[in-house]
C-alpha cells in the first residue's frame, strides 16, 4: 500500500531516494502523510538540482583552484614523512589533472582475504610479493679479466629464503642476455660473449644491468610494507602491478587499489579509472584539511574520462578537443591553433563562453541564455 504510493513518484525522483523512502517511511503510514512526505521530497530534490545554464565547469574550476593556491604555501610543511615518501599536496593534484602517464610515486594498497589476514601470514605474503632482483640472491658478481667473462656465484641461503630455484634464475639470465653463452661451472654461473670482439666496457654495463634483473616476486613492487589499519592487516607497496596482484589468491580484489589511474584504466576499465581519479584527488584535498564538494571533483574526472581514455586537463588533453578555435587559442600556444585552423579552413560557431567574451558578445549562460522569440503571422 505504502510502497505503491511511493512507486508513483518513480519518474520524479532518482532510484536511490525512492529506495530510502521505502525503507524509512513506516508501512502503516496514512495515505495523506505519505503523499505529504513525497511531495516535500520532490520539492527538495528539485531545489537541489543545478539550474539549466549554470556554469558548473567554471564553478568546479574555481572551487578546486582557490584552495590549491593556498596549498602551494602548505606543501613544504609535510616534507620528510617516515617510511614511505608519497607525493602529496599540489604537485600530486597537478599530476593527476595533467593525466601524467608515469606518476612520481606509484603505490598500492593490497587488502588481504580474510583467511590470510593475520600478522604472520601477511608478513609472509609481503616478503613473497616483493620484487627480487639478482643482486639480492648473489654472493658475488665479478668480471674475469683474463677470460673476458662474467662470473656469478649465487647465495644459496638467500635463495632458499626467497624461495627461488636455481634453474629459474638461469632461465631469467638466459632470457636477458641473448648474445652471451650461459654456462654452469660448479657453483659459478659463467657468462661468455658469443662473439669474440666484445670489449670490457660492455661487460661492465652488463654487470650493472644484471644486478637489477628480475628474479622473483611481483614485478614493479619495489617496496612492501605490511601495516595495521583499523585492526586489519594490509600491505602498502611502492611501485604498482595491479594486474598481477589481483590475480593472486590472497588478494581481496574488491578493495585492493593502485594510485595509478592509467593502470586502473588498463586493468579495470575507464569507469574504474574515473572513480580512481575522484578518490585520488579527494584524498589530497582531505589530507590538506580542505573541504571541496565532491561533485566538483566528479565533474573534473568525468571530463577527463568521457573520451574513453584518460585525458589530462592540458593543451594536449581535453583542451585540444574543444570545438572552437578561439577557445583553444585562448589557452596556451595561440599561434599554433590559429595557423592550424587556417590550414583546414576551420569555422568557429561561437557557441561557448570564452569566444563570446573575446568578441564582447553576451555569453550563453545565465542571463545570456534566454532568447526572445517573436511570432510573425
Amino acid at each position: 500500500m505504502t510502497s505503491e504510493l511511493i512507486k508513483k513518484y518513480e519518474n520524479l525522483l532518482p532510484k536511490k531516494i525512492i529506495g530510502e523512502a521505502m525503507e524509512l517511511i513506516p508501512k502503516g503510514a496514512k495515505k495523506a502523510d505519505v503523499e505529504k512526505i513525497m511531495k516535500i521530497l520532490v520539492d527538495e530534490y528539485n531545489y537541489a538540482l543545478v539550474d539549466p545554464g549554470e556554469c558548473v565547469g567554471l564553478i568546479a574550476a574555481e572551487s578546486l583552484g582557490e584552495p590549491s593556491t593556498q596549498m602551494t604555501l602548505n606543501t613544504f610543511h609535510l616534507a620528510g614523512v617516515a617510511e614511505m615518501n608519497v607525493t602529496m599536496g599540489l604537485p600530486r593534484i597537478i599530476e593527476i589533472l595533467d593525466g601524467r602517464k608515469t606518476i612520481s610515486t606509484p603505490m598500492m594498497e593490497i587488502y588481504i582475504k580474510e583467511e590470510f589476514r593475520n600478522e604472520k601470514k601477511v608478513r609472509g605474503i609481503a616478503e613473497q610479493i616483493k620484487e627480487r632482483t639478482l643482486k639480492e640472491i648473489i654472493s658475488d658478481i665479478s668480471i674475469n679479466l683474463a677470460e673476458i667473462q662474467l662470473e656469478i656465484s649465487l647465495n644459496e641461503k638467500k635463495m632458499k629464503q626467497f624461495n627461488v630455484e636455481r634453474t629459474v634464475v638461469l632461465k631469467n639470465i638466459e632470457k636477458a642476455v641473448k648474445t652471451y653463452e650461459v654456462k654452469e661451472k660448479g657453483e659459478v654461473i659463467i657468462l661468455k660473449p658469443k662473439s669474440k670482439d666484445e670489449d670490457l666496457n660492455i661487460l661492465y654495463l652488463l654487470r650493472e644491468k644484471l644486478k637489477n634483473l628480475y628474479v622473483t616476486g611481483i614485478k614493479g613492487l619495489k617496496q612492501v610494507l605490511p601495516v595495521k589499519r583499523d585492526e586489519e592487516y594490509l600491505i602498502i607497496t611502492a611501485g604498482t602491478n595491479l594486474k598481477e596482484v589481483l590475480s593472486r589468491d590472497f588478494t581481496d580484489t574488491t578493495r585492493t587499489v593502485s594510485n595509478d589511474s592509467f593502470e586502473i584504466a588498463d586493468v579495470l576499465g575507464i569507469e574504474a579509472a574515473r572513480q580512481a581519479i575522484i578518490n585520488e584527488i579527494y584524498k589530497v584535498i582531505e589530507g590538506q584539511g580542505l573541504n571541496i564538494d565532491i561533485r566538483h571533483v566528479m565533474l573534473v574526472s568525468d571530463t577527463m574520462c568521457t573520451s574513453g581514455q584518460i585525458r589530462g586537463i592540458t593543451r594536449f588533453g581535453v583542451v585540444s578537443e574543444k570545438p572552437s578555435v578561439l577557445a583553444r587559442a585562448s589557452f596556451e600556444t595561440p599561434i599554433k591553433h590559429i595557423v592550424n585552423a587556417s590550414l583546414i579552413n576551420e569555422r568557429d560557431e561561437l557557441n561557448s563562453v570564452i569566444e563570446n567574451v573575446m568578441l564582447n558578445q553576451p555569453v550563453p549562460t545565465g542571463t545570456g541564455l534566454p532568447k526572445l522569440g517573436i511570432k510573425l503571422d
Binding site: A61, P362, P364, G368, L369
Partner: protein
C-alpha cells in the same frame, strides 16, 4: 708533516710548525710589522694556512684578549675619554684588530667582559655589535624576537624626518620633511654615535594601549584630532618638475616660453596663468592639476618636404610640463641651469603640506606599523585621572602574537623619562633595568606597571580595566594615502587597444581581470559582463559577401566593400580588441572571415 700556506688561494710555501707560524704572524700584525688588513686562518681538515689580503672581505673589529684579560685597560678608557687617543691608535697598539669571516672561525669571542676565560682570544667591543646601525636604534632590542627587530629597522628606514639640513637648496625628488622633529625620550647608544639629534625622524607621543570603537582593528591606530591640530606628524612633501630645451637635428630646438596661441595642442589661456614672461612659474604660486609649470614648445615631430614648401613657417608643438592628475601644491623653488649637454634646464620644486589623515602610515621603533583608522576629536578621547588625553590609541591585539616586549618597556621607559626629565638608555643588551624604571616610575607617583585609570571621553564613565599608557617615540612613514589614492569613472584610453590606460599616473582604470571575469560568468551575469567589457566597443562595417571589414565613406555616407562590388555591408558591434585581433591574424598570413547571421 708540513703545512701548506696559501696567499689569496695561491700556494706560496709550506711551514713545519703551523701554530707557531700563525702565532708569530698575529704577533707581527699586532706590532704593525704586517698590514692589519691581512687575515690568517688555519683549516684543520685540509691542514692548510690561508692568508687573505684581497678586497671585498667583510671584517669587523674585536678587542684582543691575552690570558683571559682584555688588552683595553682602564688607562685606555681614560685616555679615550680625554680624547688623547682615538680608535686608530688602539688598532696601532694591537689592542683592537679586524677579523674576517675566515679568521673568526679560529677565534673564540667573548660576548661580555665578565665571561672571559683563558680560552678566549677576543672580546666584543660592545654586544650591540651583532646588530646593524638601524637595528641598534631599536630600544630594548634584546627583549624581542629577531624577526621583529628586522621589521623595526625596516620601518625606521622609511620614516619621514629631517634628512638633510641644507634641504632648501637641494633638488631632491619625492622626499618629505617632518615639521617638528624630536629626539626620542628613550635612546640607545647609537643615538649619540650616529648624531641622531641632528637628523631625528619622529616625535614623542602619549600612547595608550586600548581599543576604541573598533577603529584600530588590524594594526590601525587612532589619533587625537587635537594633537594633529597642534602639528603632530605634519610634513612637507617635495616633488620635482624638470624640463630642458632639447636640440633636434636641423638646428631646431625646444623653446621655454609661454606658448603662442597658434601652437598645436595649445591649452586654455587659464592654464598658463602662473607663467612669468620667461615661461616659468613664479615661486609660491599655488598650483592644481592641469596647471602649466614650465611652458615649452617643440618643433614638429615629422618634417615632410611638403611642410618646408608650405607656408614657410611650420607649426610648433606644445610640450609644457603640467601638474599631473591628482597632484598639486605650492611652487617652492625654481632652478635655471644647464644640463650635461649644455642645454637650458629648468627645475621647479613643488611643496605640499601633508597633514596626517586617515590612511597615513605610522610606526613605533619595534616593527609595530599601522595606518590611521580614525581621527577622534580630543574631547571624545579617553582621558586619565589627571586629565591627559593620549595622542595615539594602539590596539592591544598587536602585542601577544608578535611578542614585541620592547614596545611595552619603551612605554614604561618613556613615561619615566617624561616625568623625571632625563633621557632613558635603552641600548640593546646594556639598557637600564626594567625593575629600576618601574621603581623610579613608582617614586614619581605613578603606578609602577604604567597603567592608569581611564575615563570614557564621551560619557565620563570610568573604565573597569586599568589602561597601560606611556610615552613613546613614533615615526611617520613615507607612505601617505594622498600620494596613492586613485579612482576613475571615465578617462584616458590607450591608442592601440582603445582600452583604459593602466596606473595611477595615467589616471588608469582598475582592471577587471581574468579571474574576476570568471566570477561574472559563474554567477550567470552574462549581460553585466558584456556591459563591463564595453569599454572598447566599436561598430565595424562588415561585408556580408566576403566577411572582411568594409569601408565607411563619411562623405557619401555609405558603406562599401573595396573587394566586392555591390555587396551588402552590415554594421557589427564588437570589442575593438577583437578587431585588432583580426588585423593581427591578417598580418601573420591568416585571413579571418566573419559570417554574418541575422540576430533575430
Amino acid at each position: 708533516m708540513s703545512t701548506e700556506i696559501y696567499l689569496n688561494s695561491k700556494i706560496i710555501g709550506s711551514v713545519d710548525n703551523a701554530t707557531d707560524f700563525i702565532d708569530r704572524f698575529k704577533e707581527d700584525r699586532r706590532k704593525g710589522k704586517v698590514s692589519t688588513d691581512i687575515n690568517i686562518q688555519y683549516k684543520e681538515k685540509e691542514n692548510g694556512i690561508y692568508l687573505y689580503s684581497s678586497k671585498g672581505r667583510v671584517a669587523r673589529p674585536l678587542i684582543v684578549v691575552k690570558d683571559g684579560k682584555s688588552l683595553i685597560t682602564q688607562k685606555h678608557i681614560e685616555q679615550l675619554e680625554k680624547k688623547e687617543i682615538g680608535f686608530s691608535d688602539l688598532i696601532l697598539q694591537g689592542a683592537i684588530e679586524y677579523l674576517d669571516a675566515g679568521e673568526e672561525e679560529n677565534a673564540l669571542v667573548a660576548f661580555t667582559e665578565d665571561v672571559l676565560t683563558k680560552e678566549h682570544t677576543h672580546l666584543e667591543i660592545s654586544p650591540l655589535g651583532i646588530t646593524g646601525l638601524v637595528t641598534s636604534l631599536v630600544p630594548f632590542g634584546n627583549y624581542n624576537a629577531p624577526t621583529r627587530l628586522n621589521a623595526g629597522s625596516k620601518n625606521q628606514k622609511q620614516a619621514i624626518g629631517f634628512y638633510a639640513s641644507n634641504y632648501p637648496v637641494r633638488i631632491d625628488m619625492d622626499v618629505s620633511m617632518l615639521h617638528y622633529p624630536q629626539i626620542p625620550l628613550v635612546q640607545t647608544l647609537t643615538n649619540p654615535i650616529s648624531e641622531y639629534e641632528k637628523h631625528p625622524s619622529g616625535q614623542n607621543v602619549v600612547l595608550a594601549i586600548l581599543s576604541f570603537d573598533g577603529y584600530n582593528m588590524e594594526d590601525a591606530i587612532i589619533v587625537n584630532k587635537g594633537t594633529i591640530d597642534r602639528g603632530l606628524a605634519r610634513s612637507s612633501y617635495y616633488r620635482l618638475e624638470s624640463v630642458s630645451e632639447l636640440r633636434y637635428q636641423g638646428g631646431l630646438t625646444d623653446e621655454i616660453s609661454i606658448p603662442d596661441k597658434e601652437v598645436r595642442g595649445y591649452r586654455t589661456e587659464e592654464d598658463y596663468r602662473f607663467l612669468e614672461e620667461d615661461g616659468i612659474i613664479s615661486p609660491e604660486s599655488k598650483v592644481d592639476e592641469g596647471d602649466v609649470i614650465i611652458g615649452r614648445t617643440s618643433p614638429p615631430r615629422f618634417l615632410s618636404s611638403m611642410d618646408e614648401l608650405n607656408l614657410g613657417q611650420t607649426q610648433r608643438r606644445e610640450s609644457s610640463s603640467v601638474v599631473m592628475h591628482g597632484e598639486g601644491g605650492t611652487v617652492d623653488f625654481v632652478l635655471i641651469t644647464e644640463n650635461e649637454e649644455g642645454n637650458k634646464l629648468v627645475q621647479v620644486r613643488l611643496r605640499d603640506q601633508k597633514i596626517p589623515e586617515i590612511g597615513d602610515k605610522f610606526t613605533s621603533r619595534h616593527g609595530q606599523k599601522g595606518v590611521i583608522g580614525m581621527i577622534v576629536p580630543s574631547e571624545d578621547m579617553p582621558f586619565t585621572a589627571s586629565g591627559i588625553t593620549p595622542d595615539i590609541l594602539f590596539n592591544p591585539h598587536g602585542i601577544p602574537s608578535r611578542m614585541t616586549v620592547s614596545h611595552l618597556i619603551e612605554l614604561v621607559g618613556g613615561k619615566t623619562a617624561a616625568l623625571s626629565g632625563r633621557y632613558i638608555d635603552g641600548t640593546t643588551f646594556n639598557s637600564e633595568k626594567e625593575d629600576d624604571l618601574r621603581k623610579e616610575l613608582s617614586s614619581l607617583g605613578f603606578r609602577e606597571n604604567g597603567t592608569e585609570t581611564f575615563y570614557n571621553g564621551r560619557t565620563g564613565e570610568m573604565f573597569n580595566a586599568k589602561i597601560f599608557v606611556g610615552n613613546m617615540y613614533y615615526l611617520k612613514l613615507k607612505h601617505m594615502v594622498s600620494n596613492k589614492m586613485h579612482s576613475r569613472a571615465r578617462g584616458p584610453i590607450q591608442l592601440l587597444t582603445r582600452q583604459p590606460t593602466e596606473g595611477r599616473a595615467k589616471e588608469g582604470g582598475l582592471r577587471l581581470g581574468e579571474m574576476e571575469k570568471d566570477t561574472f560568468i559563474a554567477h550567470g551575469a552574462s549581460l553585466l559582463l558584456k556591459d563591463r567589457f564595453d569599454a572598447d566597443k566599436t561598430i565595424v562595417p562588415i561585408c556580408e559577401n566576403c566577411g572582411q571589414i568594409a569601408v565607411h565613406d563619411e562623405y557619401k555616407n555609405r558603406d562599401f566593400c573595396p573587394m566586392c562590388e555591390d555587396s551588402t555591408v552590415s554594421n557589427v558591434e564588437m570589442a575593438y580588441a577583437f578587431k585588432l585581433f583580426l588585423d593581427e591574424m591578417k598580418s601573420m598570413g591568416v585571413l579571418p572571415k566573419l559570417e554574418l547571421k541575422d540576430k533575430y
